[in-house]
Symmetry: C2
Subunit: 379 residues, 2 copies
């Protein structure tokens, strides 16, 4: 069964110096696994917001055109000249895409560790997952319990570990409750499940009444709508009720970051007994982990006891160390069908990624909508 | 000699709910010192930017009027309605002013520790220093070597410890060189002396050619002018040369903060060998320690490995602990006439603080200009 797998399709994204994005499928050679390596037949890989950055780059999806057919289909789109500077590091380089996924181990090297995985369902993070086969070291995969499907295991890493990373960061940095923006997202819903299970107070910031209802329907206690005229006052009330002094922000632009820190400072100053012209000494932290909003961040420094910074999953996992990261992964596996269950709008093939209707849909990054790729589903 | 001191003048700042600032002198009672306390006759106290925030609040100095005469002189000025919200915490409360100063111990409690200080010149930080006498615990003052004048010892804390705090923070947080804005200030010049003595690379950001020359004349190697058309490019060159990845910013508004982080990221990306859409993993830190610029901060997040936050001297000293803070203070005393020498434009009496010509001059916070108050100089 295993000897015949020597080639497979892999999705590639290329941005040319001329300002053109090209998405295509390449037939690539699957090398024979080394002693400690395995080959995974990828059967499910989600399209996360973090994948779209690499897949589409700064190209404008509305300019997308398709040519060719079958495995030779090619999508092209235009990158506006103003956005080319940000693409400098990847120009004219054909890049594999897909952070995570799951599938069956179909080939294994000679080591006992690799051999033990043969035929098993495993979850993988490591890039190049939008491909029919993925060669990887045996120790880098996460074996899934018997009876787990590829679709169930496809999103084991990015969303579960990011949302767990938020509550972990909250605890490790001495905060007792947290704030989350774009809170109706797949990740935001998962964070609500974690917080409800762990008894952590979470202030959800959403952008519409529909999203407010969605979160209340899954049991969220604190939901504030940033488009409401009473937003900042509502936020202060929720911050006073929860004592939240750390926020995770997916938008990364505009005035929301400053509004959150300002509201935290207002809540802290209300509790002060003695005036200080420096404001409160309650430490307020805001982490930006996404860039849904392309405008610059604009804010008034909220006193002096504050920090705003970038937050990314991989540096966080490195910081907490191998052992603690393994504990988080073990929790994800244990609660894969409950807390960490993901829901997908649609499952598509590798060729389906190049379908313009699909592309326009997943490129929207619409809250609550999520696509799953099955690279071994006939296109 | 000591029994007769029971009253003294103290400067007060009051902002009324009506929107009026009132600066006056109050005759206050000097309590007899407890066993572990002393009374310092204040002979020199600087007007630092950090004092002006409390002294003038959000009042507009151009509206200042004077009435009365001698010790009954009163200055009034108007606080614009839009700025009253920020004053909410101090309304209708008569507040003493003056963070630091130096003077002679004229009364001492019965404890040996207090008695040992009688007749000595000491430096004090703790507020209410714009006063003829200051009651304080003996253990809270810094005894100065014989032969030190009050003027020499007046600025022992704020500028010396803030500039030492910057190089200490740099080292403790793992950076090898630093950036400073408003770099031609008294504090900025002191930081240059520390860095030259300690062999630390410092990138000075100034706002004029005159300030550029001033710093080069005192031996600064890296000076960039933020008003030059080539500013960001010049900054990148200086950052590449020094490897600076931490900045201390006195302005706290506008686009300068983002320009510094962006230039650090450009320098870091130049050194990268493999593309990442998240940018470099070189951690970039910017601390805001002042508010010379009242506009909001506006910036594009520079990748994900960055942080921007408030920095204040007192939380820093608390964080490093009593023992390490004592080491920094000992260094200040040892180098008081060299590295940490302060220069003053003018010495004025307590009544001189209420003189409108003086007020308009010190309210300007002009770089390189600094006033010293001698509360026991005849007004």
């Amino acid at each position: 069964m295993t000897a015949d797998i020597t080639k497979g399709l892999e999705l590639r994204s290329l941005i040319k110096s001329s300002g053109e994005l090209e998405i295509s499928l390449q037939q690539v050679t699957i090398p024979a696994p080394g002693a400690d390596e395995i080959v995974v037949r990828v059967e499910a890989a989600p399209i996360n917001p973090s994948d779209l950055g690499l897949l589409l780059g700064a190209a404008d999806p509305s300019t997308a055109k398709v040519s060719g057919a079958g495995a030779s289909t090619v999508v092209t789109a235009t990158v506006a000249q103003a956005n080319m500077k940000a693409m400098a590091g990847r120009l004219d380089e054909s890049m594999p895409v897909g952070n995570e996924g799951a599938g069956t181990v179909v080939k294994a090297g000679s080591s006992p560790e690799a051999q033990a995985l043969l035929g098993k369902m495993v979850a993988v993070i490591g890039g190049a997952m939008y491909a029919q086969y993925r060669l990887i070291k045996a120790k880098e995969v996460l074996p899934l319990p018997d009876g787990t499907t590829a679709a169930e295991g496809a999103s084991c890493f990015v969303n579960p570990l990011t949302s767990l990373g938020m509550t972990e960061t909250m605890k490790r940095e001495g905060h007792k409750a947290l704030v989350h923006t774009a809170a109706a997202s797949n990740l935001g819903q998962m964070l609500n499940k974690i917080c409800q299970k762990d008894g952590i107070d979470l202030v959800n910031i959403v952008r519409s009444e529909a999203q407010e209802k969605l979160l209340r329907d899954i049991g969220a206690k604190y939901v504030v709508n940033s488009t409401a005229p009473t937003f900042v006052d509502d936020l202060v009330v929720a911050l006073e009720a929860t004592g939240a002094t750390i926020a995770f922000d997916a938008t990364g632009g505009g005035k929301l970051q400053g509004q959150i820190l300002h509201a935290m400072e207002v809540a802290a100053v209300k509790a002060m007994k003695v005036y200080s012209r420096y404001g409160s000494d309650t430490f307020k932290q805001l982490y930006i982990y996404g860039r849904l909003e392309p405008r610059p961040v604009e804010f008034m420094p909220p006193g002096f006891a504050w920090s705003m910074g970038g937050w990314l999953l991989f540096p966080f996992l490195q910081k907490i160390g191998r052992e603690d990261a393994a504990k988080l992964r073990a929790r994800v596996v244990a609660e894969l069908k409950t807390t960490f269950a993901s829901h997908y709008t649609k499952t598509i093939s590798l060729q389906g990624v190049l379908n313009l209707d699909n592309l326009r849909a997943y490129a929207k990054r619409a809250t609550g909508e999520k696509y799953l790729i099955n690279p071994n589903m006939p296109g």
